[in-house]
Symmetry: C2
């Protein structure tokens, strides 16, 4: 049994949702059958989209320092339930000897499993979209990509800010579903929920096509990785 | 700003509920305004009621080791959202230089504030009830106590086991509310939700009298303590 270290707090409601999805993905009959988790819930990490696009404070020093806390505490591997933070994946992994799961690679693989060959509609932060975090991975997998037009991307980002501030969640959910519906009209055969804040308000089953939720993909990967070592 | 270390996983859904109540108790406009938390979610700690009553494995070594992980990770103070684990409070505090909050003392104080002088009806594990964890504190506060009769206490404990196993939550909630109603009929003017598993299914407002929920009391205490030091 390996212990997962989770760097959470991006946003604040994602940590609880991450735990819930790990619990749901775990076969267990009683409390003591569940996986131990070490969690650094650190909402003080500078906003990733602002850092990447708006000249906001660099998020990398806080990310590597927060991962180091988990490593020192005894984590055998690390999960970072924030899609945009994966912009810094290589630098984060280079700064720690502890293996870091790659949520985005696993999510793209899952898209190809759920709807083989289907074009992917992406709901994500403007930071994730504009830096092309998913584009290269999807191209490598031979999958076409639909991203929202500029007005819709602004709606998605406003919804993410609303979820992060814990106000206006219903309107945010409504906007996300409307943007997803337009991506489906444009040809998307699967919706990739590529921002864990959106995972808090949108569920698989909410849409006319299957959704691949990066947070659920990460939860399944955490459970598998924790159980890899039977010791 | 002080960093709270949370020893969670007792039971598994309590950790997410603890985070949510801390978020709800925090004045914040944006993600970065929220408190950092270090969380050791450790469901492998031996069952406390079994340890105290049934000759189950001693829970103290795992509790002190789990607190030590949080101390090493940099926690400035510790919170343990499990009422029954407070049986070991003195031994846990003796084993770490980091201050540990006392959820039960704070909860009894809150009962006296919410319904001054009212008799308290206790919903808690059989471990908490039989070892008298709340009895002495309530007597010191001059508050009378009503505990469920034996058959009702068995219903409460069965409900807690159901919540811990993540099955039968609706029936567990129904049983908890029925037992609480009988405590109120017997004279309780406030219901003390003194098991954090019960906190997952019963809310203030569910009953004919006010509820004091130890998990919410702890959340408020964590927010206050984290902000004590303005550094």
């Amino acid at each position: 049994m390996k212990t997962c270290g989770i760097l959470g707090g991006m946003g604040v409601d994602v940590t609880g949702e991450m735990i819930r999805r790990i619990l749901d993905a775990t076969e267990a009959k009683r409390e003591q059958d569940h996986l131990p988790l070490l969690i650094n819930h650190n909402p003080r990490i500078p906003d990733r989209t602002a850092a990447l696009l708006g000249g906001g404070e660099d998020a990398l020093p806080a990310l590597t320092a927060s991962v180091a806390v988990l490593a020192r505490a005894g984590a055998d591997f690390i999960a970072i339930p924030c899609n945009t933070a994966h912009y810094y994946y290589d630098a984060i992994q280079a700064a720690t000897p502890v293996p870091v799961l790659h949520m985005l690679k696993a999510s793209v693989s899952q898209c190809a499993v759920v709807q083989p060959g289907a074009a992917v509609g992406l709901l994500a932060t403007t930071g994730t979209v504009r830096t092309g975090l998913y584009q290269g991975l999807l191209a490598d997998a031979g999958l076409a990509l639909h991203v929202p037009d500029e007005a819709d991307q602004d709606r998605v980002m406003a919804g993410i800010e609303a979820i992060k501030s814990r106000h206006g969640l219903k309107a945010a959910r409504r906007d996300m579903l409307a943007v997803a519906a337009r991506l489906i009209s444009a040809g998307a055969g699967v919706i990739l929920v590529g921002c864990t804040d959106i995972s808090v308000v949108v569920r698989d089953g909410d849409l006319a096509v299957p959704a691949v939720d990066a947070l659920s993909v990460l939860a399944e990967l955490i459970v598998r990785t924790a159980r890899e070592d039977p010791s």
